[in-house]
Protein backbone atom coordinates (compact mmCIF):
# COMPACT_ATOMS: atom_id res chain seq x y z
CA UNK A 1 0.00 0.00 0.00
CA UNK A 2 2.72 2.36 0.96
CA UNK A 3 4.67 1.56 -2.20
CA UNK A 4 1.62 2.17 -4.37
CA UNK A 5 0.90 5.43 -2.62
CA UNK A 6 4.44 6.63 -3.07
CA UNK A 7 4.41 5.61 -6.75
CA UNK A 8 1.14 7.50 -7.24
CA UNK A 9 2.63 10.56 -5.65
CA UNK A 10 5.75 10.19 -7.79
CA UNK A 11 3.54 10.06 -10.89
CA UNK A 12 1.63 13.11 -9.77
CA UNK A 13 4.95 14.84 -9.21
CA UNK A 14 6.30 13.92 -12.66
CA UNK A 15 2.96 14.95 -14.26
CA UNK A 16 3.25 18.28 -12.56
CA UNK A 17 6.83 18.62 -13.72
CA UNK A 18 5.77 17.75 -17.26
CA UNK A 19 3.05 20.39 -17.16
CA UNK A 20 5.59 22.86 -15.82
CA UNK A 21 8.01 22.14 -18.71
CA UNK A 22 5.15 22.49 -21.19
CA UNK A 23 4.11 25.95 -20.25
CA UNK A 24 6.75 28.49 -19.36
CA UNK A 25 9.67 26.62 -20.94
CA UNK A 26 7.73 25.98 -24.16
CA UNK A 27 6.60 29.54 -24.47
CA UNK A 28 10.19 30.64 -24.10
CA UNK A 29 11.41 28.00 -26.61
CA UNK A 30 8.79 28.99 -29.18
CA UNK A 31 9.60 32.66 -28.64
CA UNK A 32 13.31 32.01 -29.08
CA UNK A 33 12.76 29.81 -32.17
CA UNK A 34 10.58 32.39 -33.92
CA UNK A 35 12.94 35.20 -33.04
CA UNK A 36 15.96 33.18 -34.15
CA UNK A 37 14.31 32.21 -37.48
CA UNK A 38 13.23 35.78 -38.24
CA UNK A 39 16.65 37.23 -37.44
CA UNK A 40 18.51 34.49 -39.34
CA UNK A 41 16.21 34.97 -42.37
CA UNK A 42 16.78 38.70 -42.30
CA UNK A 43 20.55 38.24 -42.05
CA UNK A 44 20.62 35.67 -44.94
CA UNK A 45 18.45 37.87 -47.14
CA UNK A 46 20.57 40.92 -46.34
CA UNK A 47 23.90 39.17 -46.98
CA UNK A 48 22.61 37.53 -50.24
CA UNK A 49 21.34 40.86 -51.50
CA UNK A 50 24.58 42.54 -50.58
CA UNK A 51 26.63 39.88 -52.44
CA UNK A 52 24.32 40.02 -55.50
CA UNK A 53 24.52 43.82 -55.63
CA UNK A 54 28.30 43.74 -55.25
CA UNK A 55 28.59 41.12 -58.00
CA UNK A 56 26.40 43.19 -60.34
CA UNK A 57 28.47 46.28 -59.53
CA UNK A 58 31.75 44.51 -60.23
CA UNK A 59 30.45 42.99 -63.51
CA UNK A 60 29.15 46.35 -64.72
CA UNK A 61 32.40 48.08 -63.69
CA UNK A 62 34.48 45.44 -65.55
CA UNK A 63 32.36 45.85 -68.69
CA UNK A 64 32.77 49.59 -68.44
CA UNK A 65 36.60 49.28 -68.17
CA UNK A 66 36.62 46.91 -71.18
CA UNK A 67 34.64 49.40 -73.28
CA UNK A 68 37.02 52.19 -72.24
CA UNK A 69 40.12 50.09 -73.12
CA UNK A 70 38.65 49.23 -76.52
CA UNK A 71 37.93 52.94 -77.11
CA UNK A 72 41.51 53.88 -76.04
CA UNK A 73 42.89 51.25 -78.51
CA UNK A 74 40.80 52.74 -81.30
CA UNK A 75 42.05 56.20 -80.30
CA UNK A 76 45.69 55.12 -80.39
CA UNK A 77 45.15 53.60 -83.80
CA UNK A 78 43.63 56.91 -84.92
CA UNK A 79 40.33 55.41 -85.82
CA UNK A 80 37.33 57.63 -85.34
CA UNK A 81 38.97 59.60 -82.47
CA UNK A 82 35.93 61.78 -81.70
CA UNK A 83 33.66 58.77 -81.08
CA UNK A 84 36.41 57.03 -79.08
CA UNK A 85 36.94 60.09 -76.81
CA UNK A 86 33.14 60.30 -76.24
CA UNK A 87 32.99 56.59 -75.26
CA UNK A 88 35.90 56.98 -72.77
CA UNK A 89 34.16 59.91 -71.14
CA UNK A 90 30.79 58.08 -71.08
CA UNK A 91 32.33 54.98 -69.48
CA UNK A 92 34.06 57.07 -66.79
CA UNK A 93 30.73 58.72 -66.02
CA UNK A 94 28.98 55.35 -65.99
CA UNK A 95 31.44 53.96 -63.42
CA UNK A 96 30.90 57.00 -61.25
CA UNK A 97 27.11 56.41 -61.33
CA UNK A 98 27.67 52.66 -60.63
CA UNK A 99 29.74 53.59 -57.53
CA UNK A 100 26.98 55.94 -56.36
CA UNK A 101 24.39 53.21 -56.98
CA UNK A 102 26.25 50.49 -55.03
CA UNK A 103 26.80 52.76 -52.09
CA UNK A 104 23.09 53.60 -52.03
CA UNK A 105 22.15 49.93 -52.32
CA UNK A 106 24.56 48.94 -49.52
CA UNK A 107 23.07 51.62 -47.30
CA UNK A 108 19.51 50.43 -48.09
CA UNK A 109 20.40 46.80 -47.30
CA UNK A 110 22.04 47.81 -44.05
CA UNK A 111 18.98 49.85 -43.17
CA UNK A 112 16.69 46.92 -44.00
CA UNK A 113 18.69 44.46 -41.85
CA UNK A 114 18.99 47.02 -39.06
CA UNK A 115 15.27 47.73 -39.08
CA UNK A 116 14.60 43.98 -39.04
CA UNK A 117 16.93 43.50 -36.10
CA UNK A 118 15.29 46.31 -34.17
CA UNK A 119 11.81 44.95 -34.96
CA UNK A 120 12.90 41.44 -33.89
CA UNK A 121 14.46 42.62 -30.63
CA UNK A 122 11.44 44.80 -29.87
CA UNK A 123 9.18 41.81 -30.49
CA UNK A 124 11.33 39.65 -28.18
CA UNK A 125 11.30 42.34 -25.50
CA UNK A 126 7.51 42.59 -25.73
CA UNK A 127 7.21 38.79 -25.47
CA UNK A 128 9.41 38.70 -22.34
CA UNK A 129 7.61 41.65 -20.84
CA UNK A 130 4.29 39.88 -21.39
CA UNK A 131 5.57 36.68 -19.77
CA UNK A 132 7.11 38.53 -16.85
CA UNK A 133 4.09 40.70 -16.14
CA UNK A 134 1.80 37.66 -16.31
CA UNK A 135 4.01 36.10 -13.59
CA UNK A 136 4.64 39.22 -11.56
CA UNK A 137 1.15 39.82 -10.21
CA UNK A 138 0.63 36.28 -8.85
CA UNK A 139 4.17 36.30 -7.41
CA UNK A 140 3.55 39.63 -5.68
CA UNK A 141 0.32 38.20 -4.26
CA UNK A 142 2.27 35.17 -3.03
CA UNK A 143 4.90 37.34 -1.36
CA UNK A 144 2.21 39.42 0.35
CA UNK A 145 0.33 36.30 1.49
CA UNK A 146 3.56 34.70 2.77
CA UNK A 147 4.33 37.80 4.79
CA UNK A 148 0.82 37.76 6.27
CA UNK A 149 1.16 34.07 7.08
CA UNK A 150 4.57 34.64 8.69
CA UNK A 151 3.06 37.46 10.75
CA UNK A 152 0.55 34.95 12.12
CA UNK A 153 -2.50 35.60 9.91
CA UNK A 154 -3.37 31.98 9.21
CA UNK A 155 -6.34 32.98 7.00
CA UNK A 156 -3.94 34.27 4.32
CA UNK A 157 -4.68 32.67 0.91
CA UNK A 158 -3.92 33.61 -2.72
CA UNK A 159 -6.11 33.65 -5.82
CA UNK A 160 -5.13 30.74 -8.08
CA UNK A 161 -4.66 31.70 -11.74
CA UNK A 162 -2.34 32.92 -14.51
CA UNK A 163 0.44 30.74 -15.88
CA UNK A 164 0.27 27.09 -14.90
CA UNK A 165 3.43 27.52 -12.77
CA UNK A 166 2.03 30.39 -10.75
CA UNK A 167 -1.31 28.58 -10.52
CA UNK A 168 0.29 25.44 -9.07
CA UNK A 169 2.49 27.59 -6.84
CA UNK A 170 -0.67 29.32 -5.59
CA UNK A 171 -2.44 25.98 -5.05
CA UNK A 172 0.57 24.61 -3.18
CA UNK A 173 0.70 27.74 -1.03
CA UNK A 174 -3.01 27.49 -0.20
CA UNK A 175 -2.66 23.80 0.69
CA UNK A 176 0.30 24.62 2.92
CA UNK A 177 -1.58 27.46 4.65
CA UNK A 178 -4.58 25.14 5.13
CA UNK A 179 -2.36 22.48 6.70
CA UNK A 180 -0.59 25.05 8.87
CA UNK A 181 -3.92 26.39 10.11
CA UNK A 182 -5.19 22.88 10.88
CA UNK A 183 -2.03 21.91 12.76
CA UNK A 184 -1.86 25.19 14.65
CA UNK A 185 -5.46 24.66 15.75
CA UNK A 186 -4.62 21.13 16.90
CA UNK A 187 -1.52 22.34 18.71
CA UNK A 188 -3.39 25.13 20.49
CA UNK A 189 -6.02 22.64 21.58
CA UNK A 190 -3.33 20.25 22.83
CA UNK A 191 -1.66 23.13 24.69
CA UNK A 192 -4.94 24.02 26.41
CA UNK A 193 -5.51 20.36 27.30
CA UNK A 194 -1.97 20.14 28.70
CA UNK A 195 -2.44 23.28 30.82
CA UNK A 196 -5.78 22.00 32.09
CA UNK A 197 -4.25 18.62 32.82
CA UNK A 198 -1.40 20.12 34.83
CA UNK A 199 -3.82 22.31 36.79
CA UNK A 200 -6.16 19.39 37.49
CA UNK A 201 -3.34 16.98 38.33
CA UNK A 202 -1.76 19.52 40.64
CA UNK A 203 -5.12 20.04 42.33
CA UNK A 204 -5.93 16.34 42.67
CA UNK A 205 -2.46 15.40 43.93
CA UNK A 206 -2.42 18.15 46.50
CA UNK A 207 -5.17 16.72 48.75
CA UNK A 208 -3.62 13.27 49.31
CA UNK A 209 -0.24 14.95 49.68
CA UNK A 210 -1.70 17.20 52.36
CA UNK A 211 -2.73 14.09 54.29
CA UNK A 212 0.65 12.37 53.86
CA UNK A 213 2.61 15.43 54.94
CA UNK A 214 0.14 16.37 57.69
CA UNK A 215 0.12 12.93 59.31
CA UNK A 216 3.89 12.58 58.97
CA UNK A 217 4.21 15.91 60.81
CA UNK A 218 1.83 14.57 63.46
CA UNK A 219 4.05 11.53 63.90
CA UNK A 220 7.13 13.75 64.20
CA UNK A 221 5.41 15.63 67.01
CA UNK A 222 5.41 12.30 68.85
CA UNK A 223 9.08 11.82 68.10
CA UNK A 224 9.91 10.96 71.72
CA UNK A 225 7.66 7.88 71.50
CA UNK A 226 9.30 6.63 68.27
CA UNK A 227 12.37 4.39 67.91
CA UNK A 228 15.28 6.10 66.09
CA UNK A 229 14.55 3.92 63.01
CA UNK A 230 10.89 4.96 63.03
CA UNK A 231 11.81 8.63 63.40
CA UNK A 232 14.21 8.33 60.47
CA UNK A 233 11.49 6.67 58.35
CA UNK A 234 9.08 9.49 59.11
CA UNK A 235 11.81 12.02 58.18
CA UNK A 236 12.11 10.31 54.79
CA UNK A 237 8.34 10.53 54.26
CA UNK A 238 8.40 14.23 55.16
CA UNK A 239 11.40 15.03 52.96
CA UNK A 240 9.82 13.32 49.99
CA UNK A 241 6.40 14.83 50.42
CA UNK A 242 8.00 18.29 50.64
CA UNK A 243 9.93 17.54 47.49
CA UNK A 244 6.68 16.50 45.76
CA UNK A 245 5.04 19.75 46.83
CA UNK A 246 7.96 21.74 45.41
CA UNK A 247 7.69 19.80 42.17
CA UNK A 248 3.94 20.41 41.98
CA UNK A 249 4.38 24.11 42.65
CA UNK A 250 7.10 24.36 40.01
CA UNK A 251 5.04 22.47 37.43
CA UNK A 252 2.08 24.71 38.16
CA UNK A 253 4.21 27.83 37.77
CA UNK A 254 5.57 26.56 34.46
CA UNK A 255 2.10 25.69 33.16
CA UNK A 256 0.93 29.16 34.14
CA UNK A 257 3.97 30.73 32.53
CA UNK A 258 3.28 28.82 29.29
CA UNK A 259 -0.36 29.87 29.36
CA UNK A 260 0.65 33.48 29.99
CA UNK A 261 -1.13 33.28 33.37
CA UNK A 262 1.85 33.65 35.65
CA UNK A 263 1.06 36.88 37.46
CA UNK A 264 2.93 39.05 39.92
CA UNK A 265 1.78 41.83 42.22
CA UNK A 266 4.75 44.19 42.35
CA UNK A 267 4.93 46.92 44.98
CA UNK A 268 7.65 49.42 45.86
CA UNK A 269 9.96 47.39 48.08
CA UNK A 270 13.24 48.05 49.88
CA UNK A 271 16.09 45.87 48.65
CA UNK A 272 17.09 45.19 52.29
CA UNK A 273 13.65 43.65 52.88
CA UNK A 274 14.06 41.29 49.92
CA UNK A 275 17.52 40.19 51.03
CA UNK A 276 16.39 39.73 54.66
CA UNK A 277 13.37 37.65 53.56
CA UNK A 278 15.59 35.28 51.63
CA UNK A 279 18.28 35.03 54.30
CA UNK A 280 15.70 34.33 57.00
CA UNK A 281 14.32 31.47 54.90
CA UNK A 282 17.72 29.98 54.04
CA UNK A 283 20.22 30.78 56.82
CA UNK A 284 19.67 27.67 58.95
CA UNK A 285 19.80 25.36 55.94
CA UNK A 286 23.07 26.94 54.72
CA UNK A 287 24.71 26.93 58.14
CA UNK A 288 23.65 23.30 58.63
CA UNK A 289 26.19 22.43 55.92
CA UNK A 290 28.91 24.46 57.58
CA UNK A 291 28.65 27.15 54.90
CA UNK A 292 28.66 30.88 55.58
CA UNK A 293 26.07 33.39 54.36
CA UNK A 294 26.94 37.07 54.21
CA UNK A 295 25.43 40.08 52.50
CA UNK A 296 26.73 43.34 51.10
CA UNK A 297 24.10 45.93 50.24
CA UNK A 298 25.27 49.15 48.58
CA UNK A 299 24.15 52.10 50.76
CA UNK A 300 21.41 54.40 49.43
CA UNK A 301 19.89 51.91 46.98
CA UNK A 302 16.57 53.00 45.47
CA UNK A 303 13.44 50.94 46.12
CA UNK A 304 12.51 48.43 43.45
CA UNK A 305 9.24 47.25 41.94
CA UNK A 306 8.92 43.72 43.32
CA UNK A 307 6.43 41.01 44.30
CA UNK A 308 7.93 40.13 47.68
CA UNK A 309 6.78 36.49 47.68
CA UNK A 310 8.03 35.88 44.16
CA UNK A 311 11.42 37.55 44.73
CA UNK A 312 11.82 35.40 47.83
CA UNK A 313 11.00 32.38 45.67
CA UNK A 314 13.74 33.39 43.19
CA UNK A 315 16.34 34.10 45.87
CA UNK A 316 15.53 30.95 47.82
CA UNK A 317 15.99 29.06 44.56
CA UNK A 318 19.40 30.67 43.88
CA UNK A 319 20.54 30.20 47.50
CA UNK A 320 19.32 26.58 47.52
CA UNK A 321 21.36 25.89 44.39
CA UNK A 322 24.46 27.45 45.97
CA UNK A 323 23.82 25.50 49.18
CA UNK A 324 23.36 22.16 47.44
CA UNK A 325 26.02 22.39 44.72
CA UNK A 326 28.77 23.85 46.92
CA UNK A 327 30.81 21.70 49.32
CA UNK A 328 30.70 22.08 53.06
CA UNK A 329 32.48 25.18 54.30
CA UNK A 330 31.75 27.22 51.17
CA UNK A 331 31.18 30.97 51.40
CA UNK A 332 27.91 32.22 49.92
CA UNK A 333 27.44 35.97 49.48
CA UNK A 334 24.45 38.10 48.55
CA UNK A 335 25.41 41.38 46.93
CA UNK A 336 23.04 44.21 45.95
CA UNK A 337 24.30 47.06 43.75
CA UNK A 338 22.89 49.78 41.56
CA UNK A 339 23.40 49.37 37.81
CA UNK A 340 22.06 52.37 35.88
CA UNK A 341 18.27 52.45 36.40
CA UNK A 342 18.22 48.95 37.90
CA UNK A 343 19.25 47.20 41.07
CA UNK A 344 21.19 43.98 40.72
CA UNK A 345 20.91 41.33 43.40
CA UNK A 346 23.54 38.61 43.00
CA UNK A 347 24.14 35.31 44.77
CA UNK A 348 27.86 34.56 44.65
CA UNK A 349 29.51 31.33 45.75
CA UNK A 350 33.08 29.96 45.75
CA UNK A 351 31.94 26.45 44.83
CA UNK A 352 32.97 24.13 41.99
CA UNK A 353 31.55 26.39 39.25
CA UNK A 354 29.67 25.37 36.12
CA UNK A 355 31.27 24.13 32.88
CA UNK A 356 30.75 26.46 29.92
CA UNK A 357 28.58 24.01 27.93
CA UNK A 358 26.18 23.60 30.86
CA UNK A 359 26.17 27.32 31.63
CA UNK A 360 24.75 28.05 28.16
CA UNK A 361 21.60 26.03 28.94
CA UNK A 362 21.36 26.73 32.65
CA UNK A 363 18.02 28.59 32.45
CA UNK A 364 16.33 25.88 30.38
CA UNK A 365 13.87 23.41 31.90
CA UNK A 366 15.27 20.27 33.46
CA UNK A 367 18.76 21.55 32.78
CA UNK A 368 20.82 20.46 35.74
CA UNK A 369 24.42 20.29 36.72
CA UNK A 370 26.57 17.23 36.23
CA UNK A 371 24.89 13.88 36.80
CA UNK A 372 27.02 12.84 39.77
CA UNK A 373 26.01 15.91 41.77
CA UNK A 374 22.40 15.71 40.61
CA UNK A 375 21.97 12.34 42.33
CA UNK A 376 22.66 13.98 45.68
CA UNK A 377 20.98 17.32 45.01
CA UNK A 378 17.23 17.38 45.48
CA UNK A 379 16.12 20.10 43.06
CA UNK A 380 13.42 19.76 40.44
CA UNK A 381 15.41 21.11 37.48
CA UNK A 382 12.73 23.75 37.01
CA UNK A 383 13.77 26.41 39.51
CA UNK A 384 15.99 28.52 37.24
CA UNK A 385 13.52 28.36 34.33
CA UNK A 386 10.78 29.64 36.65
CA UNK A 387 13.11 32.24 38.17
CA UNK A 388 13.85 33.57 34.69
CA UNK A 389 10.11 33.83 33.87
CA UNK A 390 9.47 35.60 37.17
CA UNK A 391 12.34 38.08 36.76
CA UNK A 392 11.18 38.87 33.24
CA UNK A 393 7.63 39.46 34.50
CA UNK A 394 9.15 42.11 36.76
CA UNK A 395 10.68 43.74 33.68
CA UNK A 396 14.13 42.57 34.71
CA UNK A 397 16.84 40.22 33.52
CA UNK A 398 18.74 37.30 35.02
CA UNK A 399 22.22 36.04 34.10
CA UNK A 400 24.75 33.47 35.25
CA UNK A 401 28.54 33.67 35.23
CA UNK A 402 30.92 30.98 36.34
CA UNK A 403 34.54 30.00 36.33
CA UNK A 404 35.00 26.26 36.94
CA UNK A 405 37.00 25.77 40.12
CA UNK A 406 36.40 29.33 41.35
CA UNK A 407 32.66 29.74 41.75
CA UNK A 408 29.42 30.98 40.25
CA UNK A 409 27.43 34.20 40.24
CA UNK A 410 23.70 34.33 39.57
CA UNK A 411 22.46 37.90 39.35
CA UNK A 412 19.09 39.38 38.52
CA UNK A 413 18.16 42.99 37.95
CA UNK A 414 14.94 44.73 38.92
CA UNK A 415 13.85 48.16 37.71
CA UNK A 416 14.40 50.88 40.32
CA UNK A 417 11.35 53.03 40.96
CA UNK A 418 12.57 55.68 43.33
CA UNK A 419 15.36 56.78 45.53
CA UNK A 420 15.33 57.32 49.28
CA UNK A 421 18.35 59.55 48.82
CA UNK A 422 17.91 62.91 47.03
CA UNK A 423 21.44 62.95 45.63
CA UNK A 424 20.77 59.55 44.12
CA UNK A 425 17.54 60.89 42.62
CA UNK A 426 19.42 63.86 41.15
CA UNK A 427 22.00 61.55 39.64
CA UNK A 428 19.37 59.33 38.03
CA UNK A 429 17.56 62.45 36.83
CA UNK A 430 20.77 63.73 35.27
CA UNK A 431 21.34 60.39 33.59
CA UNK A 432 17.82 60.25 32.17
Amino acid sequence: MRFRASRASRQAYSRRRFRLSQSLANRLTIGFAIGFAVLTGLAVIGVARFIQQRQDFEDATARSYQSEIQARNRLSQGRNPVAARATILAQQRRRQSLRDEISNQTRDTALLVGAGLIAGLTGAALLFNGLISSMRRPLEDLVAASERLAAGDLDARVEVGGLSETASLGRAFNEMAEELQRRTGERDQLDRMKDEFVLTASHELRSPLTSVQGFAELLMMERDNLTPEQAETVEVILDNSRHLVRLLNDLLDLARSDAGQLRIEPEPTEVETLVEDAERAMRSQIEARGQTLSEKIEPGLPTVSADRDRIRQIMVNLLTNANEYCPEGAAIRVKATRVDAEVEIAVIDDGPGIPRDQLAHIFERFSRGDAGLTQRVGGTGLGLAISKSLVELHGGTIAAQSTPGEGSTFGFRLPAIGSPNPTEADRSGAQA
Binding site: S202, R206, S207, L209, T210, S211, E217, S241
Partner: protein, 122 residues
Amino acid sequence: MMAKILVADDSATILLLLRTRLEMEGHEVETASDGQGVLDALSAGGPQPDLLLLDAMMPRISGIDALRQLRAAGVETPALIVSAHQDKMDAGPPDDLGIGGYVSKPVDFEALFARIAELTSG
Protein backbone atom coordinates in the same frame (compact mmCIF):
# COMPACT_ATOMS: atom_id res chain seq x y z
CA MET B 1 -7.02 31.28 73.07
CA MET B 2 -9.49 28.48 72.58
CA ALA B 3 -12.07 28.84 69.80
CA LYS B 4 -15.03 26.85 68.51
CA ILE B 5 -14.29 26.04 64.88
CA LEU B 6 -16.54 24.48 62.23
CA VAL B 7 -14.37 22.61 59.70
CA ALA B 8 -15.77 21.41 56.36
CA ASP B 9 -13.96 19.19 53.85
CA ASP B 10 -15.18 16.38 51.60
CA SER B 11 -12.08 14.31 52.37
CA ALA B 12 -12.43 12.33 55.62
CA THR B 13 -8.64 12.08 56.08
CA ILE B 14 -8.18 15.83 55.69
CA LEU B 15 -11.00 16.37 58.19
CA LEU B 16 -9.28 13.99 60.62
CA LEU B 17 -5.95 15.77 60.15
CA LEU B 18 -7.46 19.24 60.64
CA ARG B 19 -9.50 18.11 63.64
CA THR B 20 -6.50 16.43 65.29
CA ARG B 21 -4.15 19.39 64.85
CA LEU B 22 -6.76 21.96 65.87
CA GLU B 23 -7.75 19.95 68.96
CA MET B 24 -4.08 19.56 69.90
CA GLU B 25 -3.95 23.37 69.85
CA GLY B 26 -6.86 23.38 72.29
CA HIS B 27 -9.66 24.36 69.93
CA GLU B 28 -13.12 22.82 69.93
CA VAL B 29 -13.85 21.31 66.51
CA GLU B 30 -17.10 20.47 64.76
CA THR B 31 -16.99 18.94 61.26
CA ALA B 32 -19.10 18.86 58.11
CA SER B 33 -18.45 16.93 54.90
CA ASP B 34 -19.91 19.49 52.48
CA GLY B 35 -21.54 22.92 52.25
CA GLN B 36 -24.98 21.58 53.16
CA GLY B 37 -23.54 20.20 56.40
CA VAL B 38 -22.21 23.69 57.20
CA LEU B 39 -25.61 25.29 56.59
CA ASP B 40 -27.36 22.55 58.67
CA ALA B 41 -24.91 22.94 61.56
CA LEU B 42 -25.41 26.71 61.68
CA SER B 43 -29.21 26.56 61.45
CA ALA B 44 -29.48 23.82 64.12
CA GLY B 45 -29.39 26.35 66.92
CA GLY B 46 -27.15 25.91 69.92
CA PRO B 47 -23.77 27.61 70.34
CA GLN B 48 -22.52 29.18 67.12
CA PRO B 49 -18.89 28.60 65.99
CA ASP B 50 -16.32 31.40 66.33
CA LEU B 51 -14.74 30.53 62.97
CA LEU B 52 -15.48 28.65 59.76
CA LEU B 53 -12.71 26.70 58.02
CA LEU B 54 -14.18 25.74 54.64
CA ASP B 55 -12.76 23.81 51.71
CA ALA B 56 -13.30 25.86 48.55
CA MET B 57 -14.22 22.88 46.40
CA MET B 58 -16.75 20.39 47.74
CA PRO B 59 -19.46 18.43 45.94
CA ARG B 60 -23.01 19.87 45.76
CA ILE B 61 -22.62 23.07 47.83
CA SER B 62 -19.01 24.29 47.82
CA GLY B 63 -17.42 26.20 50.67
CA ILE B 64 -17.66 29.42 48.65
CA ASP B 65 -21.39 28.85 47.89
CA ALA B 66 -22.16 27.97 51.51
CA LEU B 67 -20.40 31.14 52.66
CA ARG B 68 -22.33 33.20 50.09
CA GLN B 69 -25.65 31.84 51.45
CA LEU B 70 -24.57 32.47 55.04
CA ARG B 71 -23.52 36.04 54.29
CA ALA B 72 -26.85 36.63 52.50
CA ALA B 73 -28.60 35.38 55.64
CA GLY B 74 -26.65 37.89 57.73
CA VAL B 75 -24.19 35.47 59.34
CA GLU B 76 -20.95 37.39 60.03
CA THR B 77 -18.82 34.54 61.43
CA PRO B 78 -15.17 34.93 60.28
CA ALA B 79 -14.20 32.40 57.64
CA LEU B 80 -11.00 30.91 56.22
CA ILE B 81 -11.06 29.19 52.83
CA VAL B 82 -8.91 26.10 52.29
CA SER B 83 -7.90 25.65 48.66
CA ALA B 84 -5.94 23.00 46.86
CA HIS B 85 -4.80 25.74 44.56
CA GLN B 86 -1.42 27.20 45.22
CA ASP B 87 -2.49 30.70 46.00
CA LYS B 88 -5.42 33.03 46.21
CA MET B 89 -5.15 34.18 42.62
CA ASP B 90 -6.47 30.85 41.33
CA ALA B 91 -9.44 30.64 43.65
CA GLY B 92 -10.00 34.33 43.08
CA PRO B 93 -11.98 36.30 45.62
CA PRO B 94 -15.49 35.70 44.15
CA ASP B 95 -17.24 38.61 45.87
CA ASP B 96 -16.67 40.45 49.04
CA LEU B 97 -17.64 37.50 51.23
CA GLY B 98 -15.67 38.70 54.22
CA ILE B 99 -13.11 35.96 53.69
CA GLY B 100 -10.50 36.24 56.44
CA GLY B 101 -7.81 34.47 54.44
CA TYR B 102 -6.84 31.57 52.21
CA VAL B 103 -5.13 28.40 53.39
CA SER B 104 -3.34 26.47 50.68
CA LYS B 105 -2.73 22.73 50.66
CA PRO B 106 -0.51 21.29 52.02
CA VAL B 107 -1.44 23.22 55.14
CA ASP B 108 1.19 25.33 56.89
CA PHE B 109 -0.24 24.75 60.38
CA GLU B 110 1.89 27.35 62.17
CA ALA B 111 0.57 30.06 59.82
CA LEU B 112 -2.99 28.69 60.15
CA PHE B 113 -2.86 28.79 63.97
CA ALA B 114 -1.54 32.34 63.86
CA ARG B 115 -4.34 33.47 61.54
CA ILE B 116 -7.00 31.73 63.69
CA ALA B 117 -5.69 33.53 66.74
CA GLU B 118 -5.92 36.89 64.90
CA LEU B 119 -9.48 36.25 63.69
CA THR B 120 -10.88 35.00 67.00
CA SER B 121 -9.13 37.36 69.43
CA GLY B 122 -11.47 40.32 68.81
